[in-house]
């Protein structure tokens, strides 16, 4: 009878985390930024039908990167949780914090109990009646939660995008300015990824990341939680409106 090899728990956790990180790093990026009248979500996503950004409840939205089927099941679970809670109590009793906790529990359980962790990273954002009441929670594959302020970047080139936003972000931006900032940040991240890929293949070792690289509007998925709307604050920005805003 053969005995299975002993693998230390540290090693198992590390392997799982590496696996999940690699999966997430392969994907495109999502940026969430707070602006004067709400929270904007910008994702690099060529698909019109498979969304990375979605409405969960009146003033709560969800953004995700990673494996589509995995974050989609989390999104559906979130909508169900929110609707059930809102129906059995009241609409105002559905909170971003409650939802973030539920996601953290689910992701934590999946990470420790399943052989394959979810390769996803999420942001749950809730817009308040004033900017100070806005909440943004970032959830990682192992169920850890971080309370973020100002902006969050996830996905392939999250580090570069975060660096870019740290320098360029200012609170209380108007929506068009915030949108442009987010798109520039994603473009900067993308330029760096492409440059490093070029480095690896040694075709053009001296290539500088091109910060002015832009992304076509049809490659973007944009939505907002606008505190000036009534009841359902989530709104997708249509392709026409988006190209208008980016051209201005």
């Amino acid at each position: 009878m053969s005995m299975p090899f002993y693998v230390s728990p540290e090693q198992i956790i590390k392997d799982k985390a590496d696996y999940a990180r690699k999966g997430i790093a392969r994907g495109r990026s999502v940026v969430v930024v707070q602006y004067k009248n709400g929270i904007a979500f910008v994702a690099e996503n060529p698909s019109r039908a498979l969304h990375k950004i979605s409405e969960i409840y009146d003033c709560i939205a969800f953004a995700a990167v990673g494996k589509y089927n995995e974050f989609e099941s989390l999104r559906v679970a979130g909508v169900r949780l929110a609707d059930t809670r809102g129906y059995s109590y009241d609409r105002q009793d559905v909170t971003g914090r409650g939802l973030a906790n539920a996601y953290a529990q689910t992701l934590g359980t999946i990470f420790t109990e399943n052989p394959k962790p979810f390769e996803v990273e999420l942001v749950v954002a809730e817009v308040g009646s004033v900017a100070a009441q806005d909440q943004m929670y970032r959830l990682t594959f192992d169920g850890s939660v971080a309370d973020e302020h100002g902006f969050v970047a996830m996905g392939g080139s999250a580090d570069r995008i975060t660096e870019f936003l740290k320098q360029a972000y200012a609170p209380d931006l108007e929506f068009p300015a915030a949108l442009k900032l987010a798109v520039e940040a994603i473009a900067a991240g993308k330029a760096e990824t492409q440059a490093s890929e070029a480095d690896e293949s040694k075709t053009n070792p001296s290539a500088e990341p091109n910060p002015s690289a832009s992304i076509a509007p049809e490659m973007l998925e944009v939505a907002v939680l606008d505190r000036n709307r009534s009841r359902r604050l989530f709104q997708r920005i249509t392709a026409e409106r988006l190209s208008e805003l980016l051209r201005a």
Binding site: A49, H51, S54, E55, I56, S73, V76, A77, V79, R80, D83, T84, G86, Y87, S88, R232
Partner: protein, 270 residues
Amino acid sequence: MTPGVSSFTDFLRMHDPSLLPSGRSMGSMPSTSPIDVPHGTTIVAMKYAGGIVMAGDRRATMGNVIASRDIEKVFATDEFSCVGIAGTAGVALEIVRLFQVELEHYEKIEGVLLSLDGKANRLASMLRSNLTMAMQGLAVVPLFGGFDLATQVGRIFSYDVTGGRYEEYDHHSIGSGSMFARGALKKMWQPDMDQASAVSVAIGALYDAADDDSATGGPDLTRGIYPVVAAVDDNGYRRIDDTELEPVIRTLITDRTTDSGGYRGVGGHS
């Protein structure tokens, strides 16, 4: 978590049926003595060029008592539809609340709006599941209307307690005062009216219903309580504001005071 179910009602049925109106057992309550609970009364709806108008009076009755003089019985169910309720108010309000969540839930999960026929059928199936309660005297009859985005017209659906769904053409009315309101609609409604005329016809029909049905409330100028009037067109649902309704109601009352329609009895003629 079961993938694929985009209906909130179906999800609750699997997950927590006690939250559903139909999930409660009524035990062996005798069906012969219905309990005394508030009842909603008259709702009218009609088409106009570009959409539909739905209006409901503000009275709820409990036997001979006025249970509420400012109850609202017309609700937006989503951006392009609305529902008016008659019958047992408590059960009806719960069905409306569930129906609103149902439509929004579908929209969020699927990313698209349910078709107007789809919405009408969902409401029918919710009524069907309320049939046991209806048999015990707690019947609910809604009137559903909305703007069909596929064909770009307004449509109206009526129901019976068993969940039968009937599409109504032109106009319809439900509730205790509906007989009188329907008569008024027949005389006053015209095809391709504009929204403003439809609103004044709706107010007039409710006025006539309140005139002859004790369970229907007329416009209350003393307290400033006016019918709930809503219009649904290609821009979506819009509740007609009280400030917009007041002149319409005042004009109607002036017309009825001078016109023979407002017969004032012996000695009333001058």
